[in-house]
Amino acid sequence: MSSMDQQVITLTVNGENRDVSVAPRKLLVDVLREDCRLTGTHVGCEHGVCGACTVLVDGRPLRACLTYAIQMEGHEVLTIESVAANGKLSPLQQALHEEHGLQCGFCTPGIVMTFEAFLRQNPAPTEDEIREALSGNLCRCTGYQNIVKAILKAATQMRLDSDYVAS
């Protein structure tokens, strides 16, 4: 890639500003993985179908394989690496662990990011609402049952946690 094509941009990833030199056509997912060395965001289909590359941009889920990195200047990008604080799993991650909601783990980061956002927007979802939201993330191992169970469990746990904080 000739240097002429490169542009220096500032990305805000997981609360940290990073200057990276990238070609305008370079996808966000490749910049996150290669330039920011955050390999937890996975590439499953490269055309926005499987959801493995889901990250949060300004709090909303977005396919990092359908987004150019240069579009992200001035936005807050959160990846899977930001979710567990100080080595402690989030209630959603913990529930996926307890309910056996993952096997090979390749789709898992995308599912975690999708539902970290979803559960903030919809703290008391029905199973149907969860299944509808989950339809954007493909998993080839689990058959989804335990993922749904885990999300329901996480929702309950997060409501209890917020009640506790509120009181």
């Binding site: 890639m1 493995a52 690496e81 991650q93 090979c104 390749f106 493909l138 191992c141």
Partner: protein, 603 residues
Amino acid sequence: MSLPEFHYIGKALPRKEDYRLLTGHGCYVDDLEVPGALHACFVRSPHAHARILAFDVKLALAMPGVVAVVTGEDLAQWTTRARMAPPIEGLQPMEMDTLPIDKVRFQGDPVACVIATDRYLAEDAMEQVRVDYDPLPAVTDMWQALDPAAPRVDETLSSNLVSHQHAVHGDPKGRQRDAHRVVERTFAMHRQTHLPIETRGCIAIWDEGRSHLTFHVGTQVPHPYRTTLAGRLRLSESQVTVISQDVGGGFGQKIALYREELTVAAMARHLKRPIRWREDRLENLLSSSQAREDACLTRAAVDAQGRLLSLELEILEDFGAYSFYPGNYLARVVAMILTGPYKVQDYSYDVRVVLSNKVGNGPMRAPMAITSWLMEGTLDAVARELALDPLDVRRINMLHADELPYRMATGELLADITPRETLEAAVAAIGYEDFRKRQQEGRARGAYLGLGICTVVESTTYGSQFYKAAGIAGSGHEAAWLRIEPTGVVNASVGLGATGQGYETSLAHAVAEGLGVSTECVRIYLGHTDIAPYGMGSRGARGGTAGGGTLYLCAQEAQSKVLAIAGTLLGTTELNALRLRDSQVEQMIDGLWVATTVSLADV
């Protein structure tokens, strides 16, 4: 069969793998950073069947960042052809180039490889590779493949019928003459694909000084993979290390050495530069192995009670264009185990496997799964035609405990199985009679409830004799090692390839049980051919039986060695009165197990 009493096995355990996978710290092939690595990208055939007339790579070579563009002719210098020719009656031997030289055989067949400094640039250059083709008529279904006038997928074979096995046990035709009814049923299943969420990919690192290849790839079978890869590169097995860390699903697709992977390895060695490749999803759908596509027929001769007098089976399978596996491998095992838990000695099968202009087949998610579909579908057809309860048809044909061990018509010996007990337990759990009543009541008001019964006796793992006879790469055996470190923690390894099964947890159970330590102090090492002992890897549900079983036996041996040493330390020769439990040596005193002062770390 009495079950041993387990202390650790059977307890639910949180998975040891989960933390890294949940937090984005797993390590799949494409997550590895390799400084200076070049990127490979493949030019693929747009035709199902065509002669390759000429390549023009000049434009591609002039593109920015491009290091090399190679074709089948180049690779023929650096690799050997694949030869799929186990001595199996009715199997035509096949030889395949690393990349096709004369003609392409399916849409997506890789014909050239572009190596560039960046994946984006490699893909740009790939579009500039010109290939002249002369399209040929294609074989697109298995019936057409059988037509003597059909185009030949592999012109070195006498026909598209790459494999044909026929066997008659007893006198199935004769029994049909005495039968109350002969029930015939057909079964057809379309082509499917495994679609692991992580596509294929690899990284090849050639060490010129040591003449050694380190090959990172997501594989279910690290050692057999190494055997094949080394052989095709004309290297010895000690010159190749295969490393497979986290793998995003396999389901049978990640067993064979693919031509793209071999190309990447050969190019890394030729250019003396590390090279990486990750296929995109379209490539995965086009050119990673697919599965099944069978058309089958069963003919069951039965008496008035539905008792099987004889059974005939015909299978026709579309195997695709190349033999990634011997053509007989999957369909013939189906024929071998078809009758499973049912008593029938007059049995014949006819298994035909044909080549077509589609991507080659491989095993997928219980590769012999059509066994139960055919056998149970046949019994359901019998029940329907004779107006019998499908459960009664199973009961009248199924083996009882007192009939075991049972020699199947095909010669396989069934022992230590409990199909009858399993069926009856399932029927009781379901509340079969009640269900039938509810079903009748439902129908009266237009609600249709269904219930299906399925029992299958499937081989999980095989012995080395089977693997060798079947022409499957590898030694056919399983081995394990276990090391007790000075602090009493335990490292252990076996030659399986994890693709999401949770082996690091379940195999830790097996070690814990055999040795007598808690699962927390056991760490399982997998997926590295220099660390793990040679094994046949993970396929066909063999991991628990072969890998877990071997580790368990290995750990039991380690325990007896530990106890021998502990006996000396404790001044006792009665080793039978010693055991290891949670890393502590215990002694039987007056019928009770009492902890001694000796722990695993002391031994």
